[in-house]
């Protein structure tokens, strides 16, 4: 019994569960089996209390303490709503089978769980009773997932459906079962990823599973067994969708789509975002391959968005040379500078007498504020939002709050607002003293003319800021956003910047320390770059002295990893206090420390034995 994790997206994991001879893709559905209602032949994994042997990989649940034929038996698991002391007495009295651990859903009992034991399959008891208390459910599951070994498998019985599977997975659940498929079928109800529909409400069967196809999509032809077959397929198919989304790094989008159909599932997602943001953020990758779609209300609070906002307020500082702030609207095309509208604004700016005394700040949703030089970092370089020209209340509040906090930490002599009237209304209470240059739309000739004029008048008053100075500041800003200010300072001190915006290189003398690379939108360090940073805490992974680094760094070799490391981060590998490699983290720092298997860092550069001597 062993789980090999192959991809991660937030707390969700896609992996291969080795069970006996079988390799089972996770997350997956455990199909309940009995002689009367056999599990489907396509089931990856079957669970049963019966002893007959089955072709599918099968988990056999031992009889309980109350069975008249007791050997071997499960311990007595009390229902959820009995005192923790009672649960505890029984858990201590009857040690559990190390392969199949039962977890009563009481937070007080979490410290009695053997957190370091490799118990690979944890089953939550009284799951439905817990599920109905959404706040308690979310807080228990997040705590449990943080308590358990990352490679242990979490099984949430009885409550999973095609609608909530995605969000349950997003909380770190690996296995659900087919209980709700059977119950719905008994109640003549068909499951779809968009919800459950009673048979009598269907005029046709909107499905191509074997049962619906054989019935020629005619609901009146379906028997109980057909409905059950349909439901087992619906569960299976959704598990496939979820696994695909995890591998693509688009699970969050998938979750937001699925929970729409169910207020309770939506509540779970909102509670995760609002009450447990750190749980989500820790395991959410820094970089992504696919657009971050901000098409729902929940997207305003997703971990990538919050992380970006937090870093703008706490890691980022405006370029010191900038005296004038220019507020601009966002553009659909990312990065913005490649868009038509932004090339118009930039033309006005670059033709002004002193363009680098101006700092551009883009006002947008859901990110709030994007400084020009961070337009290339994720998620600013890949988010996509529904643009209607209408801003909802929450978006307004987010923009106003961020702008207020940003301006408290970053001061300018002048602020120019080149935003359409609706956005002007949002920012003007925060910056009543600003100069507005947008007359109708930001790209109209009249507006651009006024912008050019204002920039001309204001920038001319300041001593000229050189493009080189600003280039240094911009790369430094990316470094601070990515690594923290102390690391950025260590990296940029005594360095020079070469190359065209935005993909610039950092040199110290003739040594390259790092460069901003196109698909990542972040700095990639060289060994020398890492050496320049290594004294500052934050992004180092220490490997064991006796670990011979050949390819990647694997989790068992990791001795220490900084807790702020996220999947996709550039990290340096230390061995005996010296940098021996740089690479990209494939696990979060906390997971590297706790995992026993799997790649932790994909190494980009490593010192040759000669360099090490």
């Amino acid at each position: 019994m062993h789980l090999q994790i192959t991809s991660r997206d937030g707390p969700a994991r896609r992996g291969t569960f080795t069970y006996g001879e079988a390799s089972i893709p996770t997350p997956t559905i455990l199909y309940l089996h009995s002689k009367a209602l056999p599990a489907p032949a396509f089931a990856h994994l079957v669970i049963t209390t019966e002893s007959s042997s089955l072709p599918q990989p099968t988990i056999r649940v031992p009889p309980t303490l109350f069975s008249p034929h007791p050997e071997p038996i499960s311990p007595l698991i009390y229902p959820k709503d009995l005192p923790a002391a009672l649960h505890k007495e029984e858990l201590i009295r009857s040690p559990q089978n190390p392969d199949l651990q039962f977890v009563p859903p009481l937070p007080e009992l979490l410290d009695t769980l053997p957190s370091t034991a490799p118990g690979p399959l944890y089953t939550i008891t009284s799951a439905q009773q817990l599920y109905h208390h959404q706040t308690a459910f979310v807080s228990f599951l997040t705590r449990l997932r943080q308590t358990l070994d990352p490679e242990s498998i979490l099984y949430l019985p009885s409550v999973g459906t095609p609608v909530n599977l995605a969000v349950l997975t997003y909380m770190g659940v690996d296995l659900i079962d087919s209980t709700q498929a059977i119950l719905a079928a008994r109640h003549n109800t068909l499951w779809f990823p968009t919800g459950a529909i009673p048979l009598h409400e269907l005029q046709e069967l909107p499905c191509h599973c074997p049962a619906c196809t054989t019935a020629h999509h005619d609901p009146t032809r379906l028997t109980f067994t057909d409905i059950l077959t349909h439901n087992t397929h619906a569960f299976y198919q959704e598990a496939q969708h979820v696994r695909t989304a995890i591998a693509r790094g688009t699970l969050r989008e998938h979750v937001e789509t699925r929970v729409r159909a169910d207020p309770q599932a939506t509540a779970l997602l909102r509670l995760l975002d609002l009450d447990h943001p750190d749980f989500l953020e820790t395991s959410t990758p820094i970089t992504r391959k696919h657009p971050l779609l901000a098409t729902t209300h929940e997207a305003l609070h997703r971990p990538e968005v919050r992380r970006f906002q937090r870093r703008i307020l706490h890691r980022y500082h405006k370029p010191p040379s900038a005296k004038i702030l220019l507020l601009l609207p966002c553009a659909a095309h990312k990065p913005y500078y490649q868009s038509k509208s932004h090339s118009l604004y930039r033309t006005q700016l670059l033709t002004s007498p002193n363009p680098w005394v101006v700092h551009e700040l883009i006002i947008t949703s859901p990110l709030g504020l994007v400084p020009r030089e961070l337009e290339i970092v994720p998620p600013a370089n890949c988010y996509d939002i529904t643009v209607t020209g209408h801003w909802d209340y929450d978006e307004k509040i987010i923009i106003q709050t961020l702008l207020q906090q940003y301006l408290a930490a970053n001061t300018y002599d002048h602020i120019i607002v080149h935003l359409d009237p609706k956005l002007q209304e949002i920012v003007s209470p925060i910056i009543p003293q600003a100069t507005t240059t947008c007359i109708d739309t930001p790209t109209s000739d009249a507006s651009l003319e006024r912008l050019a004029q204002t920039l001309h008048d204001l920038t001319a008053r300041y001593p000229k800021v050189s493009a080189g100075e600003r280039a240094m500041e911009e790369v430094s800003a990316v470094a601070a956003y990515q690594f923290t200010t102390p690391i950025a300072t260590a990296l940029m001190n005594g360095s020079t910047v070469r190359g065209r915006y935005p993909y610039r290189k950092i040199f110290r003398g003739r040594q390259q320390l790092g460069m901003i690379t196109e698909p990542r939108g972040l700095l990639s360090l060289t060994l020398e770059g890492a050496e320049a940073c290594q004294k500052e805490p934050g992004y180092s992974v220490t490997i064991a002295d006796d670990f011979t680094l050949i390819g990647s760094v694997f989790a068992p070799g990791v001795v220490e990893a900084d807790p702020g490391i996220r999947i996709g981060d550039d990290v340096w590998i230390l061995q005996q206090g010296e940098v021996c490699a740089v690479g990209i983290a494939t696990m979060s720092g906390p997971e590297m420390r706790r995992s026993r298997h799997g790649e932790a860092v994909k190494v980009r550069h490593r010192k040759t034995p000669l360099q090490q001597q």
Binding site: F66, P79, D81, T179, T189
Partner: protein
């Protein structure tokens, strides 16, 4: 005390005694029962006493009889007054069942003078039946009763609940062992006292399937030692641990199909009188099915209990029987999650 015993104490101590008078019986009524192979009228009276000694120390997980007890000592004089009230409703029924929501043989509940008065009062009765925990079944007590009753038939019902000591200890918290029951039963046999064994159907923490298995195992185990087996399916009584769980969707009283199965199979395991008294049948607090078949199934159960003819079960059918079968097959795999397969909402 174990944690479970402590917990049961917190529930039994909440029992409300306010509606119980020390001078009037709690209830009395007439019902049909079986006596010497034929169906007769039986007179049932529940006397108010201070209550079960075990309930005062801890109590059973399902038992709310404390609500039918006075909570304070009830004197012999009080009991004689209760008897006079009860006798007004007694019309010479041949079978008299004297209950007291505890142990008739416990002198703290029924003082010796009252025991004598209660047992001698029903002069027309062919058979007197009482109930007691096994620890009160002693040689001395049985001799005393024989002195009072002479050759009249006497029966003691013992709430064994299950032959499985683990279930009795962990799920019922009964406070005595199967061995104690066996000692009491053989003593009763020796004194030619008829043995009635109460078997609890579906204690808390057991699944529907486990409950059925436990009931059948118990019938098998006690068959050689008892004259009557009375199945007692749990109903949700006030101020009990079972009620606490039931309120939180963590307990469902047994399906009537479980009782049908237990009686049907139990009949083949036991040649004596096998019966089942369903309290609160068809209601959410009592044993129930889907609601549409409950009446027919309950009628069949009471028919069987009187006439011992299992063919009464043959015509029963309902679509909810499939839900019950699902529950028997799968409830063990939900670890307490789904306790009622007849209730479902998407």
């Amino acid at each position: 005390m174990s944690e479970l015993q402590e917990l049961c104490r917190t529930f039994s101590s909440k029992a409300s005694h306010t509606r119980v008078s020390t001078t009037r019986p709690v209830r009395c009524w007439t019902e049909k029962d079986r006596l010497d192979g034929s169906v007769v009228d039986a007179f049932v009276v529940i006397f108010a006493t201070r209550g079960c000694s075990w309930a005062q120390r801890s109590g059973c997980t399902m038992c709310g009889y404390g609500n039918d007890s006075a909570g304070t000592a009830v004197s012999a004089a009080d009991l004689e007054q209760q008897l006079q009230t009860a006798l007004r409703d007694y019309h010479g029924e041949p079978l008299v069942k004297i209950f007291n929501s505890g142990s008739f043989l416990d002198e703290d509940e029924i003082p010796l003078p009252a025991r004598k008065a209660l047992l001698s009062a029903f002069t027309n009765a062919t058979k007197i039946s009482v109930e007691s925990r096994p620890e009160y079944v002693t040689e001395k007590t049985l001799m005393h009763i024989q002195e009072i009753l002479g050759a009249r038939q006497f029966e003691i019902g013992i709430g064994l609940e299950t032959a499985n000591d683990v279930v009795r200890d962990k799920a019922i918290n009964k406070g005595f062992s199967f061995a104690q029951y066996k000692t009491a039963a053989s003593l009763l046999k020796k004194h030619r006292v008829s043995v009635k064994t109460y078997v609890l159907v579906k204690p808390p923490f057991l699944t529907e399937h486990e409950a059925l298995e436990d009931t059948l195992e118990t019938i098998r185990a006690v068959a050689p030692m008892t004259d009557i087996i009375s199945l007692n399916p749990v109903n949700v009584q006030r101020h009990t641990l079972v009620e606490h769980l039931w309120h939180r969707d963590e307990y469902r009283p047994p399906w009537l199909w479980t009782l049908v199965d237990a009686l049907h199979h139990g009949h083949q395991l036991f040649s004596g009188h096998l019966k089942c008294d369903v309290v609160a049948g068809g209601s959410q607090r009592g044993p129930h099915n889907c609601g549409s078949c409950d009446h027919d199934v309950l009628t069949a159960i009471s028919d069987f209990s009187l006439h011992q003819d299992p063919s009464v079960f043959t015509p029963l059918s309902c679509s909810c029987r499939e839900q019950w079968r699902d529950q028997c097959a799968y409830e063990n795999l939900t670890y307490g999650s789904v306790v009622d397969w007849s209730r479902w909402k998407a």
